[in-house]
């Protein structure tokens, strides 16, 4: 009896040890990656790196200014495309709740959420690059916008569901028409949650490379025209990392660092926003 008890105790301690061991061990790669990123990244970053254009092959120095601008343009364009569509569909899900279209929309959102990013790149190539016969920032942002869409739809729906029904009833009782109730009462009440969703969506797309490979394509020049190929930080990391030049590797680490900080800032802003403006009634 006593022996049996000891054995059970022993197994309990052993399994606890195993769980703790594996959990701690899982931190090792993360620390390893972060260590490398910070060590190599910070060394590569200086004023020239952030504000200059790339130099031709063979010349050292130069920077990734065009890629930083490109990434910002891509983010702005795709946000402009995804936000109206995402919020509209989110309101529809929250307001209508049942029916065939709601079912289809939920299914569609789930599918988009799981679609590999490279497939979205192929889609944007077929829809934008092929008819326009040119790689372009527009094509890249179409791919990124599709990727953002499910995040915005889900967060809009979740947020609007949290807003109490009494608020809506109050507005309707005052004689406000339905559309004003939604636009002037419900949406402002859920503003912070929707904003959080948009920030999360941006964090999801900011570091994406695969959808840009054959849409935005990359470019060594500074480009502000959305109909021309454009460079982006993730593309710089990929192209420089697979090059044979140590100076480009150094710059790729720098670009990685800038990119990670960018994604992190968006994630953090979303998190802080969600906590600070938590919807409470």
């Amino acid at each position: 009896m006593m022996e049996n008890y000891r054995k059970r105790e022993l197994i309990n301690t052993l399994m606890k040890g195993l769980v703790f061991f594996f959990t701690t061990l899982s931190l090792v790669p993360l620390l390893f990656i972060l260590f490398y990123l910070i060590k190599q990244g910070i060394g590569a970053i200086n004023w020239e790196f952030l504000t200059h254009l790339p130099k031709p092959v063979g010349e050292s120095g130069g920077g990734v200014f065009n890629a930083i601008v490109g990434t910002i343009i891509l983010i702005i364009l795709s946000t402009l495309m995804a936000v109206p569509l995402g919020i509209g569909a989110g309101i529809y899900l929250a307001e209508v709740k049942t029916g065939k279209l709601v079912y289809l929309l939920r299914l569609g959102t789930d599918i988009l959420q799981g679609t590999p990013s490279i497939v979205l790149g192929v889609i944007a190539y077929l829809w934008v690059v092929k008819p326009m016969k040119s790689f372009s920032a527009l094509a890249g942002s179409v791919a990124l916008a599709i990727m953002m869409l499910p995040v915005i739809i889900c967060s809009t729906e979740e947020t609007l569901k949290l807003i109490p029904y009494s608020l809506k009833e109050a507005a309707l009782a005052l004689g406000a028409p339905y559309y004003r109730t939604i636009l002037k009462v419900i949406l402002p009440a859920g503003f912070s949650g929707i904003l959080t969703g948009i920030l999360l969506g941006i964090a999801r797309i900011a570091g994406e490379t695969a959808p840009l490979l054959f849409t935005a394509f990359g470019s060594p020049y500074l480009n502000l025209n959305p109909l021309k190929p454009i460079n982006a930080l993730p593309l710089v990391v990929f192209n420089y990392a697979s090059s044979p030049y140590p100076d480009w590797w150094r710059q790729a680490w720098g670009a990685s660092f800038v990119l990670t900080v960018m994604v992190l800032v968006f994630n953090l802003a979303a998190k802080i926003g969600a906590r600070k403006w938590e919807i409470k009634f």
């Binding site: 059970r8 309990n12 289809l104 889609i123 077929l126 599709i146 559309y179 490979l213 993730p234």
Partner: protein
């Protein structure tokens, strides 16, 4: 007047909803239409042929199917002990407090690092390590290959499986756990005989979702798998996955059939990940209601 505006508002909402649905349908349709030429030229053999040689006009997707299956299942295998441990750790041992917060933040940080950076790190840190291991094992020391890609993938999918696992474990009603404790069960026995059976389907769903992620992951794999179109001969051999072959060859596709073969692979990738995802999400939805 008001009536009309209300009508307009409702119509535009419905319109947006349809737009999203149509978008998804159009995605699927485009992939199908543009992959028709390869199915017309080669037939269903496209999926089963083992030779991919664009110069000779031979397009068989089998090497990439096998490459994808091998890398993603190996990654799942490597990551499973870790993601399960984290899920139990955060769901049961430390479900609140500073330690939980620390682990949650680090895992979300891990999930936030762009995949191209994982690939870059893998190329410069992991590949030399694997090469050393291969020399010790006496296999050809490529460094890049299926094994390396699986390692990188497993690091990348740990956070997803762990966060789903944690959620379903914390869904287990405390009455059940308390009843077991009252009967004298140890903590491990509670985990093994109460929590696991209760959360089994949810954990399975988490594994499915991370499998979907591993199958669709492109950049990190492309950078360390070695990009070899031959049928993989061993776990250490350089290979290609469905996603990585698209990333590598799409801009080089010169003929219509070549391009359509790559789009056909994209279609296959889309269908496989969609099915896996829908099953996973369905299980989770059923659990959390």
């Amino acid at each position: 007047m008001t009536f009309n505006r209300d009508k307009l508002f409702e119509r535009s909402l419905t319109f947006t909803a349809w737009l999203v649905v149509i978008l998804v349908a159009a995605m699927c349709l485009s992939l199908m239409v543009y992959s028709l030429p390869v199915f017309r030229a080669i037939g269903w053999g496209f999926l089963f042929h083992r030779v991919w040689d664009p110069l000779e006009g031979k397009f068989g997707a089998m090497p990439f199917l096998v490459g994808t299956l091998l890398t993603s299942f190996l990654a799942l295998l490597f990551s499973l002990p870790f993601s399960l441990a984290i899920a139990i750790f955060l769901g049961e041992y430390f479900n609140s407090g500073k330690i939980a917060l620390f682990f949650q933040n680090t895992t979300s940080l891990l999930a936030g690092i762009p995949s191209v950076i994982y690939g870059f790190w893998g190329l410069f840190v992991l590949v030399p390590l694997v090469r050393k291991l291969e020399i010790k094992l006496g296999v050809l020391p490529y460094g890049v290959g299926i094994f390396t890609a699986s390692l990188i993938l497993s690091i990348m999918i740990i956070p997803y499986a762990a966060s789903v696992g944690r959620e379903v474990i914390s869904l287990v009603p405390s009455e059940l756990k308390e009843a077991a404790y009252a009967l004298g069960a140890t903590r491990w026995e509670v985990i093994r005989h109460v929590i696991f059976p209760y959360a089994r389907s949810g954990i399975f769903a988490g594994i499915l979702l991370s499998l979907g992620r591993a199958i669709g992951e492109t950049m990190a794999v492309t950078m360390v798998i070695g990009n070899n179109n031959q049928f993989p001969s061993s776990l250490f051999a350089p290979a290609n996955t469905m996603a990585s072959v698209i990333a590598n060859e799409f801009t080089e596709a010169t003929s219509d059939v070549y391009l359509s073969a790559l789009i056909g692979i994209a279609l296959l990738l889309f269908l496989v990940t969609t099915v896996i995802n829908i099953i996973g999400r369905y299980i989770i939805k059923k659990l959390s209601v």
